[in-house]
Structures are given as structure tokens and as C-alpha cells.
């Protein structure tokens, strides 16, 4: 399931397009790697509202309720 409208956002700093890359995320001591959209030049990672309210929230809740 790709994040919606990939082509919509560009990096403000360098103006370049975003690509899917392996990103490290952390919560409550657990480290994970997932594929997210990011600027390969400036290393800024994009988290859309759908992602934050959907997948991220689900992961947070399941990790919180050990």
C-alpha cells in the first residue's frame, strides 16, 4: 500500500522529488525499519496524515499495550 499522491510533495530545501527509502523509526525502545518517502538529498522523511493516523497509531497502540 503506497502512500497516496506520491508526486504531490517535493523537498522545500532542494526542490527535488521524494523516493521510497528505508527509514529507521523508534518507539518505546523498539527499533524498526520501514519504507517511507524521503528526500534522498536532504534526508527529510515525509509522514502523511493517513500514515500517522493509520499505521503509526496502530503500531503505537500495540506496542504501548504490551
Amino acid at each position: 500500500m503506497k502512500q497516496d499522491s506520491i508526486s504531490k510533495w517535493l523537498c522545500s530545501k532542494c526542490g527535488g522529488p521524494l523516493k521510497e527509502g528505508l527509514v529507521k523509526i523508534e518507539y518505546l525502545g523498539g527499533n524498526f525499519e520501514v519504507e517511507l518517502l524521503e528526500c534522498p538529498v536532504c534526508k527529510n522523511v515525509l509522514i502523511t496524515q493517513e500514515l500517522a493516523a493509520g499505521q503509526m497509531l496502530e503500531v503505537e497502540k500495540s506496542l504501548e499495550d504490551k
Partner: protein, 757 residues
Amino acid sequence: MDLDKLLSMQKLCINDNPPACNTECPIHVDVKGFISEIRKGDFEEGYRILSKRIPFTNVIGLVCDHPCESFCVTNIDGKAISIHELEKAAIVYGRGAKIKRLPMPKVDMKIAVIGGGISGITCACDLNQKGYSVDIYEKENGVGGSLLKMPEQILNPKLIKEEIIKLEEQGIEIKLNQEITPEKLKGINLEYDAVFIGTREWPEKFNVNELTMQTEMEKVFVGGEIVSGRESVIRSVQTGRCAAVSIDRFVHKKSLTALREKEGAYKSILEVDIENEKITGRIEPGNGTFTKEEAINEALRCVQCECHKCVKACVHLQKVKLDPKAYIRTINQNERIILGDHYANKTINSCTECGLCGAVCPKSINMADIIKETRESMVSRNKMPISAHDFALKDMEFTNSEYFELIKHQPGKDISKFVFFPGCQLSASYSEHVIKTYNYLMEKLDGGVGLYLGCCGAPANWAGKQEQFNNSIEKIQLNLEKLGNPVVITACSTCFSNFGENLKNIKIKSLWEIFDEKGLPLDAKSGNGKILAVHDACTTRNESGIHESIRNIAKSLYYNIEEPKFTKEKTKCCGYGGLVYFANKGFSRQVTEDRIKDSQHDFLAYCAMCRDLFVLKGKKTYHILDLIYGDGNAEISDMSVPTLSERRANRFKLKKELLENLWGEKMDIKDEYEDIKIVIGDELKGKMEDELILEGDIKKVIGYAEKTNNSFYNPETGHILASRRFVNITFWVEYQKVANTFNIISAYSHRMQVKGV
């Protein structure tokens, strides 16, 4: 968590204790149980339940003298449930039920039963079922005693004969036409291991132990009319049964008296409330015995006694479908084995800790105490989900920071006999009234009235953060010491209760009692007889002084007070208690809605959060300060509620204003990027309230993004999407720069941290 303490509370709960009909029956027939089966139309199961306790069910059941009926809770104006008629119906329609009898191993002992009346055959039957060899000596030509004298239409003699045949089939030897005199008794005593006498009359008087039926001759036990002195079918059964138990223990040389208090009728500890039940009249059998339909309808009148007062009063217990016994059991399991389960966490964080259950419980079992300890235990074992209370704890931190904290003597004085502690929520919702109140106090009280702006620690207390709460109290204690240990005047019920329970050597006084004592400001407007329902704050449910003061204030302003359902010590929570407003917002709304229904009139509250939560749900609510300081317009309460961001801003402004105007000090704190102008639509404002996002968070994200250009840009729309992490949350804002302002398109947040690529 003290498991023993928990367990002991579980035992206090009486909800599954037997009702009066069961306990007052001398042989403890499960009356409630068999009636419940008849309600379903299951006569056979009802019969089975009867046969468990009633010997010769087909006979005794038809002629039982039913003392239970007079103890039935519906026994007002003769409306008691016709238990005996239902008993008869169960026998008539259910006697075909298959009953399994397990064979007992034989005991090599012989018992003599003298007198084949009801007590005698009961005793014989019971002992036979325990494996003893029993001989009945009957002086007449047939056993049955008083049963044989009953009119045929009540008891068909055929039924008696059937039961006697069963007795003989079970191996009991019936010796007819044999009268046993006291002389012959001596011989019987030698021949048998024990003797039961149930002959109704005996030439000599016995010295009977009422508890065990044993006489002065240790082998001899009596029952029936010899003991009860009157004709009663069920008493004869009971005494015969009691003697059988005693005989069984006696021949095995066991204690005759141990653990026998509940044999025989006793008072039920179940307390049942039938105020709200409509008790209709008894259904009379049209023709001698109930038809099946009549029986079912009469059985449906039965209240099925139980104690669930707490569940009936509390929305939380209704929602989780747990009564205290089950709730404690769940927590016990949770504590020991499965702490941290998602469902259990949500449940435990959805209790408002308001104490209503404890107030209505006949045994005063208060789930609030248990839930509080459970949360503390969860926190100490790192099992409390952070997101539940994070925002409230951060809010407390803000309130205790330089943005709001203020501890001062009255301007121009260096001692404080009193100190005013308005609390964080009143300061957030009603800062203008706080100023007026402080001025009022300084005017009315001598000795200096200091001012203490801060948080009492309630969020930490409710979140189970015991250590944090204790530190907070300690700090407050020290600060009060520095002020000279003044009397603390609280405006908030939660502050009042927290301070009352935790501060040492400090007197706490409610602001409302002072208004009541010292009189209201002269320009307070009249209520012109408007009716208001007082909503008492749950955290001071036991403070009758506060309840009275509020009502006096309202009445003195010519308002008419009506008590809503659940008032004073039985008041309900508004939905904020226990931080449920943050931990389970959906459920919090249900709590508020449930409370609103308790009166059709407008509410009068004296807690800022109660007022705010009712207004949010559309209920017209006045804060008591609205009555005192309202400007008398037709609609005093403006029905507006501050947003989370506005609450913080108001607290900050309050401190700033007071410092400047009363103490001539300037406050020079500025938030990073505070001056950024943002525009937020109403829908997004609502989303931000729900998701606990502050305007300050948004400004900081934008400010940082504009400075560093670390953001994303959509060339089609011209929108910018940026983020910034504060402590443990990352906030994202999509915005559009228009001239000097920023239109906010959307805002969201997450707790997971993006570490890098």
C-alpha cells in the same frame, strides 16, 4: 498492589448472596432458582431444583407451609409471590424430570427411627442416602404421620403410598404396629448406633440441644413436634434433617456443632431495592392449581433479588458489564498474569474514580480506591500506556511552570493568614471571576490573603503517578510553610479534597463556605425564582458543608433549587474525573450525556470542568460564580468553552495581569514564535481539541520550518508540510503562507520517532 487487601474487598460484595426466600426456608430450597426456571417455562428444571432439597418432593411440595412467602421482599399489602403455588405447579408439570441419584457406599451402622411421621421419614431417608441401614418403628398401621390426615383434594393418599414404596425399595425397613415405650427404648439404644425419635408425643420430657437435636442421652436425637411444639410440615422436615446430620457426625465421632450456623432459617444479608419496581397483584389460580401460563406469569412477578446498586448507578460498570466482584477478579488476574493487556488498560483508565459505587453500596465497596491502586501499580511496573495521560500531565507541568505559578502575600503585606488557591481550571475558564474573587477575599478577610497560582497535583494522582503527586504535594507544603502556613481557600472541589487528604497542619476552607459566611457582593443580581438543579462535584461528595453553602448562596440570590437524581453524596461525575476525558474521550462523552439526563432543569455547578463539559454537550449550565458575578443579562452563562490552547493562554494572561496590576511586576516570558499569526478553520479547531494539539505547537512548527526550510512543498497547491518534535511527540502542519499570516490546512501528530534514513 496489596493483593490481600483486594481480595478481602471482593468478599464484601453481597451481590450473589442468597435472597430471603432461600435463607428463610428452613431447608434452604433454592426458591429464587426454581422460580427463575418457571419464568422460562422449564418446569422440569424447576422440579429438579426443588428435589435437590425437598425429600419426598411429590408429597411435601404439595403441603409445605411456606414460611418463605412472608419474607419475600414483595410482601407488601399481601402481594408476595405465591411461592407455594409455584412449588405445586413445578411438581404437577415437572415431576417427569429425570433425576440422577448417585449410589452411596454402605456404612456398616444401624440407625433406629422411632415414629414414621414427617420428621421420622425425612431423617430415615437422609441417613439411608448417606449409606446407613435404617429401621423405622411406627406405632400405627402405616407411616406418614400428619400427612395421612390431610384432605384428599390437597394430598392424594396414592402419592404418599408411592413415596413409602420408594423408601422400602431403598432398603429402609418399616416395622408397623410397633409402639416404642421409654422402657423399650433402652433396648433399642443398645441394639443401634443411634436413635431418632419423632413421635410427636413422648411420656418424658427431653432436654434438647436446639442446634443439634441431641438429647441428654447422647445416642438419642429428636425432631418434629417434640421440638417445635406445633404442626409444621417444613419444620418437621428440617428437624428430621438436622438430626440426620447430627447422627452422621455423632457415629463418626465428629463435632456436632462445628459450622452449623446456616442450617435452619437465617436472615439474608442481601439488600434489595424495590422502590423502582412495579409490584402488581398476585395471580390467583383459576382452578385449584396454576395452569402453566398462570404459573409463568406469577413467576415473572418475582424480582429475582440481587444487589447491583452500583451497576445500576454507574455508566462505567454498565459498559464493562462487571460488578465489583468480577471487576476485582479481573484486576487480580490482570495484576498477576496479564498486566498490560489493551482491553484491561482501557477499562482501568475509563473509571472516573468518582466513588459513586462506594456511596450506594450497602457494604461501601469503593472501586475508586481499587482502581487508583491498580493504576499506581501499572505505572510502577511500566505497564501504563503513555498516551492515556500524557497531555494532562504536560498540562500540569505548564501550570506549575513560570507561565502560571505565583506565590505571593497580599500586596502591601508580608504575612498571610489566608491564601487563595483558585486552581488551574477555574483560572483557565473564568479568569475574570478569579480576579474579582481575590479582590473580594482581600476585602472581607483580615490578616492578609495571599495568592497561590498552581496545580494541586490532581492529574498525577489520577494517572497513578504516585511519586510525582507526592513530590507535588511536598512542594506545595513547603511553599505554604514559607507563607506562614495560612488557611488555604480552594475554589475547586478536587483541590479541596487533595489538600484535605494530603497536606499536614494546614486548614482547608472552601470558597463557597466563605461566600456563605461573609455574604455575597452587594451587586449580585437576583435569579428571579429561576429553577436550577445543583450538580455537586464528585470529589467533595461527602462535604455536606460545601453542599449547603452552594444551596444557600443560590437561594439567597432568589434561585429555586431542585435536586437532580443522584445528588449530594450520591452525585455523579461530569465525565472529567480520573482523566477519563483524555484517556477515553468517547466514553467520557457518554458519562456526560448520562448525567445531563438526571434533570430537565438547567444545571448549577461549582467546578469549572463540570460546567464546561455540560456546556460542551449543549446543557445550559451556570457556574456559581456566574450567579455571583454575572452581569444580569438574560443569558448569564454564555455557553462558550475555552479550547485547550485558550486554557493555557488564559492562565498565562491571568498571572501576567495580576502581577502587573496588584504587585506592579512585569512578566517577560515569550514563547518561541509566539507572534506568528495563524488562521484555523472551525473544523480543524475541533480536530485539534480531539487530538490534543495546541496552537503553540503549530506556531513552533511553522516558525522552525520557515527558518530552516526543512519542509515539503506542493507546487500545485502552494502548500507547505512541515514537522517538529517536542519531547515525545512529532507535530505536522500543512499550511499556506498568505501575506503575513499562515492559513492552517491540517495538523496531526504521532509519537513514533523517525530517527533517520
